[in-house]
């Protein structure tokens, strides 16, 4: 008997139950060698190639655009060009179980309930020929009365579904059912999974807006995009607070070795989270540029799956929406998310204030640590304000000053802070103040 090896869709991303076939890189009947890419498929996060597991001839059984369940057959590799693929092997329902020979065929077999339904609906047994064992659920599905009982849905690697109670709609109120978009379903799965795997807690601080405004003045190329400043500062602080750049799993804390900050964007077309990789090593202007590019890509619907993958921490800025405070939900595989609220003016105070909310996973950190993180962040943002106030004099006096916040050493002494010698990104010598140094 010739050898037929099914090629299965691997689980590239824990959240994907299915992928979309983007393109074939080979044709039906082509001879391929082990390791050669066969097809491109798209998961919710990325496009990836599927390689041939062995040498042989490809037998294609899917079309471009097909949505294919993870673990099921993409195609077969046969050791002869004209090998026959039996029904069983080609059938999705047995995918994942490469079977050599022993095909199912012929008349179906019916359970008692199924037989009863057949006669009730006047259906012929012939309709189910080749279906093997047929239950009542299979017949109901066939006549469209009810979806198949979810019996066969494989448990995904998250246990979420097992805990969800059935939803009870409001009595006697008619409603219209629309299937959620694939996008929305994926998003929900991500967040729900994270929600069930983390113990979410949040702390909030209020910060005078003046610091941020000063930063925007200091870096005119930001064009008022203060999100970049917060991404920049938070990224550096995450090095000092690795607990928020981590994820919890089965009693272990897993700390990421890179700081990749996802910035949530929703400008009306659905929520996307482009990721700024290595954010702790990038300058404010680089971050600002990347954010701008992401926004353009978002608006043109041109975001690449790669740009959305690999986030280790998330920032959600709803200040432009006029939202003062909210409770952001931690994303899957992360332990923290920072929410940025809009400026508001507390009664009796002429000074603008905004809120920063840090939602964190209580399994890896605690409120005190979260408060310290926010306190440090606040200090770093406020430092921009002092920088602006002092910068002119500092530069003129040639007194040593912090290369980042431009605070001169004299003023630092008043604040009980110091300068440390550093090499600046352009290679020239400079100084950093102990405020800016924190988390560097």
């Amino acid at each position: 008997m010739s050898n037929v090896m099914p090629v299965l869709i691997p689980r590239e991303n824990v959240n994907d139950e299915s992928v979309t076939l983007v393109s074939w890189l080979v044709k039906d009947g082509d001879q391929v060698s082990s390791g050669q890419d066969l097809a491109e498929v798209e998961g919710s996060k990325s496009v990836f190639e599927i390689a041939a597991p062995q040498d042989g001839y490809v037998r294609v059984s899917r079309r471009v655009g097909d949505e294919i369940d993870v673990g099921t057959v993409l195609c077969h590799i046969c050791d002869t060009a004209d090998a026959e693929i039996s029904d069983t092997v080609a059938d999705d329902s047995v995918a994942g179980d490469p079977v050599v020979g022993n095909g199912a065929s012929g008349a179906a077999r019916f359970s008692r309930k199924a037989l009863q339904l057949l006669s009730e609906h006047g259906l012929s047994e012939k309709v189910f020929e080749g279906r093997g064992l047929v239950r009542s659920g299979d017949i109901l599905e066939h006549i469209g009365q009810s979806p198949p009982q979810s019996i066969a849905s494989p448990a995904s690697s998250s246990a979420v579904t097992a805990h969800v109670s059935p939803v009870v709609p409001a009595l006697d109120v008619p409603f219209k059912t629309e299937r959620l978009s694939r996008q929305k379903r994926t998003e929900a799965r991500y967040i729900a999974s994270a929600y069930h795997n983390t113990l979410q807690s949040a702390v909030t601080v209020a910060i005078p807006t003046s610091g941020l405004r000063a930063a925007a003045d200091l870096h005119p190329y930001l064009q008022g995009n203060t999100t970049a400043v917060i991404v920049y500062e938070a990224a550096r602080l995450l090095r000092k607070y690795p607990a928020f750049n981590a994820f919890h799993s089965d009693g272990t804390v897993n700390t990421y070795e890179h700081v990749n900050i996802g910035v949530a964007i929703d400008a009306g077309q659905s929520l996307k989270v482009p990721v700024i990789r290595g954010a702790d090593t990038k300058s404010i202007s680089e971050i600002a540029d990347e954010l701008r590019e992401s926004l353009v890509a978002y608006l043109n619907d041109e975001m690449s799956p790669e740009s959305l993958a690999g986030g280790t921490f998330t920032i959600s800025d709803l200040s432009a929406e006029g939202v003062y405070t909210f409770h952001p939900l931690i994303n899957q595989g992360q332990s923290g998310i920072l929410g940025i609220g809009a400026e508001f003016f507390p009664p009796g105070s002429g000074e603008g204030t905004f809120q920063l909310v840090l939602t964190f996973d209580h399994q890896v950190a605690e409120g005190r640590l979260a408060a310290q993180f926010l306190g440090d962040l606040r200090g770093r943002l406020e430092a921009y304000e002092s920088a602006i106030g002092q910068s002119v004099g500092a530069v003129q006096d040639e007194e040593p000053y912090c290369s980042r916040c431009l605070t001169p050493i004299g003023r630092l002494r008043d604040m009980n802070q110091y300068l440390v010698q550093v090499v600046k990104p352009d290679g020239s010598p400079g100084h950093l103040c102990t405020v800016c140094l924190q988390g560097w």
Partner: protein
């Protein structure tokens, strides 16, 4: 000289020691038997013999007498030396020994002699006589050597009267030699001291022993390759085993069968060895009712390159050989640093439903599961047992327990499965059998051995009457375990029903589920286990049937599991 077992477990050029009192005696009888079978004894009186040393403390162990009895009955070239120092660690022989030491051996018809370490010439003569006797007659011999331990047994356990001990120092032949011929003695002593110092230096400079895995770990995941199982014969399981054993005896003269009542005309309690003794005289042997000696002698035979197949008449009796399995056979390879292997096969029937009562009906394999260095297989009627034994005897490299089942013996080996199900087996050396439904399964049912027949019946009813499709996964190799075939199946439906005939507490099913969850925590949504209740097995037939798991229990559990989920299963 190497060993990984420390000073109590040394192996070098035919020298083996073990830290368990008495258990080495059946092993040494097996080695003597191997030497006898190789015909070296009759070779002009220069044949090899086996000498086993025990202390008088070992006289309390039953295994010793099982071995003495068989060594005498089977005329094995075994010299038993008892170092009689009067104490078992700290306990005086006055408190523990009844009767006479030598008369114990004489009762088995064994020649005995007696000497002591205070008369070296006498001892040498006695030892020479003993060795010559064993070589010339090919019979066992029992030499009692009285002696005294001048120092503690271990550390801090010497509470003997100092005056009494001093008396023995004064008589000690080495001490006497030192005082009478001090120059020569000092020279010898210096040599000995140097040898010891060299050994210590060598040991100090050597690397620590590395931990080695004696069993294959859980293999990395690879998709199983499944093939349709086609069995051409329609014979009964008992006949397939019998046929396989005959074929193996025919083609491999290293193979020996041992067990209780296995010779014809009786041919074993379940007739597996009928007529084989007539066909292969001397290679199929009835033993006394001595399970420890059966497995111990099997171990000794395996050490000499034989391929013994021991039958334990009822699985329940395996408990009587537990020490041999756990402390000797399974450990030798490791303790003796890979210098030896123990290719030993133990066949035993488990299971009830024949009204044999509490001590002849149990499925106690769980107590022997997972002993590092062993293998356990469970045969069933959906994969030809003859293939299993053929492959096992070709590849056996460790003590291997094969679980048979009393009801299974009468079943026919067949690949005829009900309509709508495919019978397949994996590409493992001892394959997992899968009965795969055509259609998405609702439940995976895991079972092994004789339970497979019950599970098949249940699965039929579950489909016909309960509208439920099951996939059956039936591993043959229970240890070392490959959980992947089960995980693969459970991935399709998230529900698992484990069925085993023994008591399920801390048993095979629990282990599979644990390994499954370690490998893939999200795979399992629902789980039920069917096993025997925590209760001795009654002999009253109807009560036994009601208690032991059968098709009805499987159906009940499956229906209950699906009822436990909203909107699924029977209403």
């Amino acid at each position: 000289m190497w060993g990984s077992g420390g000073s109590q477990h040394i192996c070098s050029e035919g020298f083996f020691s073990n830290g368990i009192q008495g258990s080495i005696v059946p092993v040494s009888a097996g080695m003597a038997m191997g030497q006898k079978l190789d015909g070296q004894v009759s070779d002009g009186g220069l044949g090899r013999i086996t000498v086993v040393y025990v202390g008088d403390g070992t006289l309390g162990e039953g295994a010793l007498y099982e071995a003495l009895n068989i060594a005498s009955k089977w005329e094995l070239p075994l010299l038993v030396v008892v170092e009689n120092n009067g104490y078992a660690q700290s306990t005086s022989q006055d408190q523990t020994l009844a009767g006479d030491i030598c008369k114990r051996a004489e009762a088995f018809g064994i020649e005995t002699d007696q000497s002591d370490t205070w008369r070296p010439e006498h001892l040498l003569d006695a030892a020479s006589r003993a060795v010559r006797y064993v070589r010339e007659t090919c019979k066992p011999y029992f030499l009692r050597v009285d002696t005294f331990r001048l120092m503690a047994h271990s550390k801090g356990d010497d509470d003997r009267d100092l005056e009494m001990v001093k008396g023995y120092w004064d008589r000690d032949p080495i001490e006497l030699f030192r005082s009478e011929r001090s120059e020569e003695a000092e020279r010898i002593l210096a040599g000995v001291t140097r040898t010891i110092a060299d050994a210590v230096a060598l040991a100090d400079g050597a690397a620590y022993t590395q931990a080695v895995s004696v069993d294959d770990d859980v293999p990395d995941y690879r998709p199983m390759q499944w093939s349709a199982t086609e069995i051409e014969t329609n014979d009964r399981v008992a006949n397939r085993i019998h046929g396989a054993l005959r074929g193996i005896l025919e083609r491999d003269d290293r193979v020996l069968l041992m067990g209780e009542d296995i010779e014809g005309p009786y041919g074993g309690a379940f007739k597996i060895t009928k007529n084989l003794q007539a066909e292969f005289p001397g290679r199929v042997r009835n033993t006394p009712i001595s399970e420890s000696a059966i497995v111990g002698i099997g171990t000794g035979l395996a050490l000499t390159g034989k391929r013994p197949i021991c039958e334990i008449m009822f699985g329940d009796f395996l408990a009587l050989a537990a020490d041999q399995l756990l402390n000797s056979a399974s450990k030798f390879r490791y303790m003796y640093n890979d210098q030896v292997s123990v290719p030993l096969v133990i066949r035993t029937p488990m299971g009830g439903k024949r009204g044999y009562g509490p001590t002849h009906s149990q499925s106690i394999e769980k107590h022997f599961l997972g002993i590092p260095g062993t293998r356990m297989l469970a045969i069933h009627h959906r994969y030809d047992p003859a293939l299993v034994y053929d492959h096992l005897l070709d590849s056996v490299d460790r003590p291997t327990i094969v679980i048979e089942n009393k009801l299974l013996y009468a079943m026919r080996v067949s690949s005829q499965t009900p309509d709508g199900f495919c019978l397949e087996h994996s590409d493992e050396p001892f394959p997992t059998t899968r009965i795969r439904p055509e259609g998405r399964p609702d439940v995976t049912v895991l079972c092994y051995g004789g339970m497979l027949a019950d599970v098949e019946r249940a699965v039929e009813t579950l489909f016909e009457s309960h509208d439920m499709i099951c996939e059956i996964v039936c591993p043959m190799q229970l240890y070392p375990l490959n959980p992947w075939p089960v995980i693969e199946s459970v991935r399709k439906c998230g529900r698992l029903l484990v069925v085993e005939e023994g008591v399920g507490f801390a048993a095979f099913g629990a282990e599979v589920v644990a390994q499954m969850l370690e490998s893939d925590p999200g795979v399992l949504r629902m789980l039920r286990r069917v096993g025997s209740p925590r209760h001795p097995i009654p002999s009253c037939g109807p009560l036994e049937k009601a208690l032991l798991p059968g098709a009805a229990h499987v159906i009940e559990a499956a229906v209950d599991m699906l009822d436990g989920e909203d909107g699924v299963g029977e209403s």
